[in-house]
Symmetry: C2
């Protein structure tokens, strides 16, 4: 059975202006690879209601799971909850359980639980909350969409929580062979091996060092470690290099 | 007049498996912000023909410019040129000018100009070549799609070349105010200022240090430096903080 599929949706102008580097996609990609869930697409969209709605609808129809990052804080540009609600036609309002979690948190901290902070309790009808062990304000799951915070620490914690509840397929394993040979001299044997081993995905990623050295990282991916090893041995032999 | 819009399309399984971190999107985002072109969306798709074709068609219809990264090397998994051709219904074959550039390069280096390397001269009919000062194999422009290499050094050089030929709008400027105040206490004044200044985009990006310190970076973006300064002064005053 093929692995379940997934997509990532990063929401935020700060990524598209270049001000902030998105690290959440790479974090999720690594976690999903380990879990046996295939990340098939990632998108970054701006803080615009219609744009978020459109992306959520497209991705949630196309993939088994969608993960979002960003836009669930207390400020005016945090519009993700409303956009997710709109995408699913779900009413969005302050929800009692989320409200109570946050009220208790701010009472403990001696901070005012004002209108802005109450916005973080706005959850679409029918959603399940995702625990936030870092800063309390919850994420939520609606349909197949997992709505999580943009702050990396909180995002990581939420990913761990939701992945624990998901059934993945077989973890995707990989083996890498680093060679100081140009891609143009590798392509022939690599293509032949790829064709002979349809269960193994073979990729070539060229590198160029500052010192003028160059070469390629050749990566085999698959779920069967014996098969990966065999393919890598054949590849090393075909290229006339040592393979540890 | 609003700035021209743009989208980025990163092509490659290695990004979606988490093996490689995409840095090209952030590089392009910063370059476009300076050039006065608004990056509105970024996507990462896998090395699958239909997936690339679909994304290219969607993005090129929706935005003024599309920039792609990856998949133009000599190996079997480099399928970008054919996918771009298919997206535009353009025939793709080895083109004489690209062929001659590469032939001369490999002759100088004393390397065989084999079939794999000849694949890098496959260019859709009607495309314009993009110079590659690093490793010769050219990118190309077809319609509003700028097809560039995934290797960051080469991508950077190609971005510089293509941006020099584009007419942007006004560079998007930004001013940042870093405050040790939680977002929940900022949201009120920030939202009010955002409403009163529709030409300025105001965003709040929370941070949390390892030492337990927390706060927000408040960012104003716009094209008028005087207006940005005025808004930041008002914001600092409303929050009761110093502003340099």
């Amino acid at each position: 059975m093929p692995n379940p599929t997934a997509a990532m949706l990063v929401i935020g102008d700060e990524i598209l202006s270049g001000r902030t580097k998105d690290t959440n996609t790479n974090h999720l990609a690594c976690a999903l690879t380990q879990a046996g869930i295939d990340l098939k697409e990632a998108r970054v969209v701006s803080d615009e209601h219609d744009h978020i709605v459109e992306a959520v609808r497209a991705l949630s129809a196309q993939y088994a799971h969608v993960f979002t990052s960003g836009g669930i804080g207390p400020t005016h540009d945090d519009i993700t909850a409303d956009a997710i609600g709109a995408a699913f036609g779900a009413h969005v309002d302050i929800r009692e359980d989320a409200h109570d979690l946050l009220a208790a948190h701010y009472a403990r901290d001696g901070k005012e639980f004002n209108d802005a902070r109450k916005r973080m309790a706005r959850i679409p009808d029918g959603a399940t909350l995702i625990d936030n062990p870092v800063s309390v304000a919850p994420g939520f799951i609606l349909g197949n969409v997992h709505v999580m915070a943009g702050v990396p620490k909180v995002f990581h914690a939420m990913v761990e929580t939701v992945l624990a509840t998901m059934t993945g397929g077989q973890p995707l394993l990989s083996a890498t062979l680093r060679v100081h040979i140009g891609e143009g001299d590798i392509a022939g044997p690599l293509g032949a091996l790829a064709e002979a081993n349809p269960d193994v995905s073979l990729g070539s990623y060229p590198f160029q060092g500052e010192d003028g050295s160059f070469g390629s990282n050749l990566v085999a991916r698959g779920t069967d470690v014996t098969e990966l090893k065999l393919v890598m041995d054949q590849l090393a032999k075909a290229l006339g290099v040592e393979h540890g």
